[in-house]
Point group: C2
Chain length 337, copies 2
């Protein structure tokens, strides 16, 4: 399998990205190849400090860099020789089997959509993120690819995220919930209500109905569906909140007792590790005709390594083929888009 | 001032509600009167166990009770003699000056809108909740009254929440952010983009632009504006997350060391208290022609006491008059609704 990695994507590029590739290369088989995209000189310099098997890592020169905050479509048009542009084009031409980037999310989504096209039967792709909770991992889809959803999009997210959860987390029959503002069927906006009818009508999905924000942490579902606006707000809120809460705890502990704070630190580190999204590597863009994994801008060595292994799992489990087959034979045939 | 309280609203009614009223009655002046709404016998029985000044607490019999999960409009139509119905009707007839309930939120919003009507110039009311954070309190509006917003609604939430923050939290010039999915102006859906133009065009508002979920805990703004769907998801997510995170910490601490867990408990209780939304009492329904305060379903004695004091502050600060005046003289005159 040929896995393309954007060496220049994210806040810790290129060093953490390249180091993550080197680590992952040791875990891959002889049939696998990692292809790093970015300015050749920069990547070579980074690789110089590592021990690795040159047969497993190749460089494709991509001299231009898309910044984290550049307007995606504009940047893609202007920077033809950027890593994000080139690697997604090669994926579209079947020259690589998966693309991974911790760079500009909007640009990654746009490039993958444009170059890979959508899977047969899929109207809009969605990003699926796995959130670790005390009650187990919860997959949220979409978290930002599609901010104005139609009911059919939400139905397809339910199908795709469910297959993803099953194949990568080993959850036999993922319980699907739809994010809304109350448990009763009558609650929610029109899109949510219509999407709920679609999901409910599909006998092959395990649907638990509406879920509220708090239910995510209570083990109420394995998959949570929402539009990309809500999902993105939710995702960033969680991040900010974990950070804010730990800061508050630290502040209080330090006021009380330095030793207690010090002892709590090790516990906190363990919790951080256990409920750390870096563990899950990256988030696949479900619905494109290929394997596109988007990583957090703050990705580190471990994140990239895990994202590479995840992209391999995604590919070998043939999740895309399963999605196409599911949609083709689904009894639910929404016609509003 | 005549303050109406729904004695039957919330999970801890009537005992915690009535006890909260008794506590608050000691803090009110001779000109104030608390009026409890609910089945007369039930309230009398509750009051029997308390010491209070009977001149300060009066009962209005409301034999019917609207359940927490009843469909709001339906319940209001069927249960004419419910506390929520009667007290809002009396507010509309100027027989009481404020209404407070920890009951069915949808029913409270609908009843206040129907009976009090909107303030002059206001298109749709919104619920404003104050969230305690390490960086100070943040007011979020709307959290569930209006799930499909137009740009004008968001603009008016910015105006109202700003005046509310100024008058009740003492923040001289509240920095307003609009919840979106990226900091750049180009990010967000069409409603958010248009609303941003309105807020930006108003020289009297202190606007910081787009904020993301994580910014709420970083002190990036004092007021966060969003539609009621997003706000409600966010609010409940925060609740669930605090709970989930504390459970995770407890679990880890207990595995490590019982004594450490025990010592941490007292710190945790202090944090809970410090960042406890009960402290802020309740959430006003901004934009109705009256004072309507909605409390969390899990409200306790302290929540109700604080909500009563807050309703008095809201009333005496003449926030509604300030809103009407502001809107009437605002240079921003949205015409899309």
């Amino acid at each position: 399998m040929r896995i393309a990695v954007d060496a220049m994507g994210g806040d810790n590029a290129p060093h953490e990205i390249v180091a993550g590739c080197v680590e992952a290369s040791g875990l891959l088989t002889n049939e696998d190849e990692l292809i790093l995209f970015g300015p050749e000189g920069v990547i070579k310099e980074q690789l110089f400090s590592h021990k690795y098997d040159p047969a497993r890592i190749r460089i494709v020169d991509a001299p231009e860099i898309i910044g984290m905050d550049e307007p995606p479509v504009d940047a893609l048009r202007k920077k033809k020789h950027s890593s994000i542009n080139i690697m997604n084009k090669m994926a579209g031409d079947s020259q690589v089997d998966a693309v991974i980037s911790a760079g500009n999310t909007g640009a990654c989504v746009a490039a993958s959509q444009m170059r890979m096209r959508n899977l047969e039967g899929i109207n809009r792709p969605g990003i699926a993120v796995v959130i670790p909770t005390v009650s187990g991992p919860v997959t949220i889809c979409d978290v930002g690819a599609n901010i104005v959803c139609k009911p059919i999009n939400l139905y397809q997210y339910a199908v795709m995220a469910s297959l993803y959860s099953k194949n990568t987390l080993g959850i036999a029959s993922p319980r699907i919930g739809i994010m809304s503002i109350g448990e009763e069927d009558a609650k929610g906006n029109e899109t949510v209500k219509k999407a709920r009818e679609f999901i409910k009508a599909d006998p092959n999905l395990s649907f638990v109905g509406n879920i509220e924000g708090r239910d995510i942490f209570k083990g109420a579902c394995d998959v949570a569906i929402c539009d990309g606006f809500v999902g993105n707000v939710v995702l960033k809120l969680m991040e900010g909140m974990v950070d804010g809460l730990f800061r508050a705890i630290k502040h209080e502990l330090l006021q009380e007792n330095f030793l207690l704070a010090w002892r709590f630190k090790s516990v906190m580190m363990r919790i951080y590790k256990k409920y750390d999204y870096h563990e899950y590597g990256g988030a696949p863009l479900l619905g494109v005709n290929g394997t596109s994994v988007i990583c957090h801008g703050s990705s580190k060595v471990r994140t990239i390594k895990n994202a590479i292994m995840k992209s391999k799992l995604y590919h070998t489990q043939k999740i895309n083929e399963q999605i196409v087959k599911y949609i083709a034979t689904s009894s639910v045939r929404p016609t509003d888009e």
